[in-house]
Symmetry: C3
Subunit: 292 residues, 3 copies
Amino acid sequence: MTAFAPGLNEVRQRTFPFPARHFLSVADLDREQVSGLLDLAEGFVALNRQKAKKLDLLKGRTLVNLFFEASTRTQSSFELAGKRLGADVVNMAPRSSSIVKGETLIDTAVTLNAMQPDILVVRHGASGAASLLSQKVTCSVINAGDGQHEHPSQALLDALALRRAFGRIEGLVVAICGDVLHSRVARSNVGLLTQMGARVIMMLRLQLERMQGALVPSAREYNRLFGLDREKLALAAPHVRVMHPGPMNRGVEIDSDVADDLGVSLIQNQVEMGVAARMAVLAAMAARLDNE
Amino acid sequence: MTAFAPGLNEVRQRTFPFPARHFLSVADLDREQVSGLLDLAEGFVALNRQKAKKLDLLKGRTLVNLFFEASTRTQSSFELAGKRLGADVVNMAPRSSSIVKGETLIDTAVTLNAMQPDILVVRHGASGAASLLSQKVTCSVINAGDGQHEHPSQALLDALALRRAFGRIEGLVVAICGDVLHSRVARSNVGLLTQMGARVIMMLRLQLERMQGALVPSAREYNRLFGLDREKLALAAPHVRVMHPGPMNRGVEIDSDVADDLGVSLIQNQVEMGVAARMAVLAAMAARLDNE
Amino acid sequence: MTAFAPGLNEVRQRTFPFPARHFLSVADLDREQVSGLLDLAEGFVALNRQKAKKLDLLKGRTLVNLFFEASTRTQSSFELAGKRLGADVVNMAPRSSSIVKGETLIDTAVTLNAMQPDILVVRHGASGAASLLSQKVTCSVINAGDGQHEHPSQALLDALALRRAFGRIEGLVVAICGDVLHSRVARSNVGLLTQMGARVIMMLRLQLERMQGALVPSAREYNRLFGLDREKLALAAPHVRVMHPGPMNRGVEIDSDVADDLGVSLIQNQVEMGVAARMAVLAAMAARLDNE
């Protein structure tokens, strides 16, 4: 976990083949593999803070970002990760109505695959879409969010941010608040954090949408009942840290007062860890492809 | 036509200057030049199947994709082709209403040209747009589809797919079905395939749109009358192969049963050949620019 | 100002650290610094006219184009400038409604900054947006247009075009016509050109929008009263040159007759100078970052 001078040789030494052909779920990784990826990511955190942020681990490789759902944050995180590792990166945003049908989703994947990308990063509104695609292509597929199912690279970056903040993940008590029933971020985080030895408290908010006809509270009322403010935060442990996958609805689920307090908030830190964690996944993917 | 290890030296040896400053029409190429480009493309097919898919033939060159009509498939095919050859690639999608007027089309081209791209890949809804642009700029222009006129790189990739499937183009009997009157793909394919010695049967579908007021058949009826299914396919020669430029309307003009039968369908193959054929065109264009 | 063979060594020798961390306004540059940037830009003009247009001055650096307002011309100018200097370039176009609130603008900047770009090029509809962002990030910010405030790289490219056309800027009489009250281009140009010793005549057009209820003249009437045509141009000095930042409304504020006369019009030239001037700014920014 210590920072190291991220020379190419050191990075190569730390890089190991990704354990699976695809990265669809946090269940694809065991505890040791997660630790290895976090260690590798530490090197990329240091690299990204240097002026020369470029390595050639993915030189000659093609990374395609296939985002059926728009996401500036996640897409540019993968785009930067790929480019900094030397890959050719192509963004595709097939959000036209012609994509709606399931058969067309597969046609898109098969078409893309015929262009021989090495790694396909997919976000799609349907749970299971990334897994379905992975069965139809010969390249590696990374799930960048599929419906309410999983968002495994988000869980990896959150684990990295936590490990850097506390020095460990084991034994931490993590509360995940909000609409956790429908959240792929929550699902992936629970899986990965418990595997790493954290205890996780899940807090379901009231299913307000069920009461919509009868009672629609204002954003202000939502904030009063469920929003994280100083008062609610005072109930947590003294060393508590706050995370949010973004984008934030300030004044709704979180107060700016809390979000912007760098002594408490890891939110900016999460974004930085996102690029580094994805570089670790891509480097490991490339190492696996090199061995094939 | 045999595959070769696409080392940089071999590719350089096979590369020859593109015969014209622009690639606007299949009429820009004679039979020998088509064969030369297909031979060159074979090298890129092999290259793209390797893990290191990168050459430097277009290093320092700028390729601009100027797509007035959206096309994920063709645009990313050219983008990948350019990037794998080392070019800097910039995508532009000027689809705003301000582009509608012809004078503005030329202003866009002249503006772009002042940024000194080496190669401008243009798709536009108006027949003749690429030719018009080519007269206003100093860079090379590749027509990636202009209205109902031509789509010459599509014809080249189709010829490549055919030559690989049958070992030759000469003597093949090719039937082009659908709304061939309005199809730039049909127009370019007929020109190039007949030049290479194929015989081509054109099949005009009924001009259903003319009867729109009186009789609008359902997609199902269209499929029954004109859609390619197993039954109709049985009337063709035993070694028949099926091609489609994509995107497919499954269950309308083609049945999934036929489209997905890899013993018969060359459709995925066409996409792969698309990247390789465009790399051949770009490499030849760059060789011509190097000589100027 | 003479052209030089833009070998990497010569370019490195001419490159100097940008005088400020950010480039928000023409007021960030004194007269000598403007001259130095124009001299540097001359080298990039020559480079861009060569077949190999690539240097490594920004290798390993990340440039992010963050355009809240669409602008094909300015965005691709910066994209090309960055790529030709070897940077990794990422385009972001967050134009969704979620960006409207000022606090979200800052969240976007802080998020982006956590991905460690070296240079952030920002266009935004609100005056002062670039300056606000620059206070929230650790990277360098280049203002590519903020509301009615400034567009400093446009002023730099216009100065370059003028200096090349007349051999000097000092003593030139420059008339800026149109809605100069609301124009960031006019504001930046007046600041930079007067600093370089030009005299500038500002011509406010009538505030037609104030009379909208009472009198809405047609585009034709606008053209007759305010449009630049041969007749009005004849009133200027014999060596007069015409500039326009684009995109032009032909037949409204300028006649094609004037715009397309290469003996008079510098309009195409401005676009070419745009890429070169931005390369000069980026190279100087990188030199400053290298020294930090």
